[in-house]
């Protein structure tokens, strides 16, 4: 838990991350508020706030008497949101920084492709190494 942002938002994000990664598939049950609270060692009310935020955003829904479930279509919704955030938090600052450093659009594109190939290679190497180990 970092201290820049409210905890309930961080809880909501962690649940969203789990949905994105597939750890929490759609229409499956998520842990209860109390379980989240105990796991993250935070106040249950705060955990509840995070869960409610997701319910309000249509990511989770409540089945009476049973618990909270991941809503259908939430994966797509989260991805779309995150893409918007990605643009605002990464792309825009990146472009601003590039301008500051005098990197042209063309150079930026080149940087992207070389970096992408490099990271693919590294990823493949890592997989090979892990495979061999």
């Amino acid at each position: 838990m970092d201290e820049t942002r409210p905890i309930f938002i961080q809880i909501a994000e962690r649940i969203e991350n789990d949905i994105l990664s597939g750890a929490l598939p759609e229409e499956t049950q998520v842990p209860s508020t109390n379980e989240f609270a105990a796991f993250y060692r935070i106040n249950p009310a705060t955990a509840g706030k995070g869960v409610n935020l997701l319910v309000d955003n249509g990511i989770l829904y409540k089945k009476r008497g049973i618990g909270m479930f991941v809503a259908g279509g939430s994966l797509a919704r989260i991805r779309a949101n995150r893409r918007e955030q990605f643009r605002a938090e990464y792309v825009r600052p990146l472009l601003a920084e590039a301008t500051k450093l005098g990197i042209s659009r063309r150079q930026l594109a080149d940087l992207f492709s070389s970096e992408a190939t490099d990271s693919e290679t590294i990823a493949k190497d890592t997989i090979t190494k892990e495979g061999a180990a």
Binding site: M1, D2, E3, T4, R5, P6, I7, F8, T33, N34, A37, A38, Y40, R41, I42, N43, P44, A45, T46, K49, A88, R92, P93, A96
Partner: protein, 296 residues
């Protein structure tokens, strides 16, 4: 959400010393409150007033709707665990856990037993022979197992080592989730308990300087660090909670920044860093101390 405690204009003087100075606030049912502040801020005195152990000089206190002083109805539903609880001579741990259930209607013996094991409290030993940590643990167990609708913990975990403190926080959260009750924790170890709290009341020199939802307080300040000029420009006319400078570098604490402002700061080469609850309270407390000194 019903009000469990209602305090208005409360003042307590010990001779010439004003320990509690015109304090007013309310406590809502079934939340975990943090009663924070420096040593000597008045936390213990306030709790003693709320539990009828001390008599107010002025003002009113309502706990469960009536004054707690000499009220068995109210006191029956309260558990007050102090840091320095003195036990009768030759009392053993066994005696403590035998007598506590008589005074707390909601006592859970099974829970108590489990906690005694968790904290490794030797039941056959005399209380006066316990280590500081074990003594604190006894208090903590009584407070938890009492299931009192209103439970005060006055820094009873100071004697506990870090592992035991974590056990306490974990058990408190678990039990609170299953069996909601109003809990008031006083401490100066703010960062440790910060995530457990739902509401925060900060005392300084007998006065309430913060009385707000914990999440609000947590997100309410940011540190801006960078070149003096850039910082000054970014901060503009905003209220400054705290400022430090070294050489050409300045660090200023201001209220929360929006995501747009965040990007503007980054663009201006300024570093924004979080202000923990503890830091915030320390800084607010220091500034209020200065205020008092100036007005005195």
């Amino acid at each position: 959400m019903s009000t469990v405690i209602e305090v208005a204009g409360l003042t307590k003087r010990f001779g010439k010393v004003t320990a509690i100075d015109d304090v007013s606030f309310t406590v809502q049912e079934n939340k975990i409150y943090g009663l924070l502040g420096r040593n000597g801020a008045g936390k213990t005195t306030l709790m003693q007033l709320l539990t009828g152990q001390e008599f107010a000089t002025n003002g009113s206190i309502g706990v469960f709707g009536r004054s707690p002083v000499e009220s068995a109805q109210v006191l029956d539903r309260i558990c007050f665990i102090k840091e320095s609880q003195k036990y009768p001579e030759d009392f053993s741990v066994k005696h403590v856990f035998r007598s506590a259930p008589w005074f707390f209607g909601g006592w859970d013996s099974a829970f108590a037993e489990q906690l005694i094991a968790d904290f490794r409290i030797p039941t056959d030993r005399k209380v006066k022979k316990l280590s500081r940590g074990q003594l604190s643990a006894v208090g903590v167990v009584v407070g938890l197992a009492s299931r009192a609708p209103l439970t005060f913990f006055d820094e009873p975990y100071l004697g506990l080592d870090a592992v035991s403190r974590q056990i306490f926080y974990d058990r408190l959260l678990e039990d609170y989730a299953e069996h909601p009750r109003t809990v008031i924790l006083s401490t100066h170890l703010i960062d440790e308990v910060s995530n457990l709290l739902e509401h925060v009341i900060v005392l300084d020199e007998g006065r309430v300087i913060i009385d707000a939802d914990a999440e609000e307080v947590r997100g309410s300040a940011t540190n801006v660090v960078g070149a003096r000029g850039a910082v000054a420009q970014f901060v503009g006319g905003r209220d400054v909670l705290h400022s430090e400078a070294i050489g050409g570098l300045a660090s200023v604490t201001i209220a929360a920044v929006s995501p747009d402002e965040r990007r503007a700061a980054r663009a201006a080469d300024l570093e924004l860093s979080p202000v923990s609850l503890q830091q915030l309270i320390v800084r607010t407390t220091n500034s209020s101390t200065k205020e008092f000194e100036q007005s005195a």
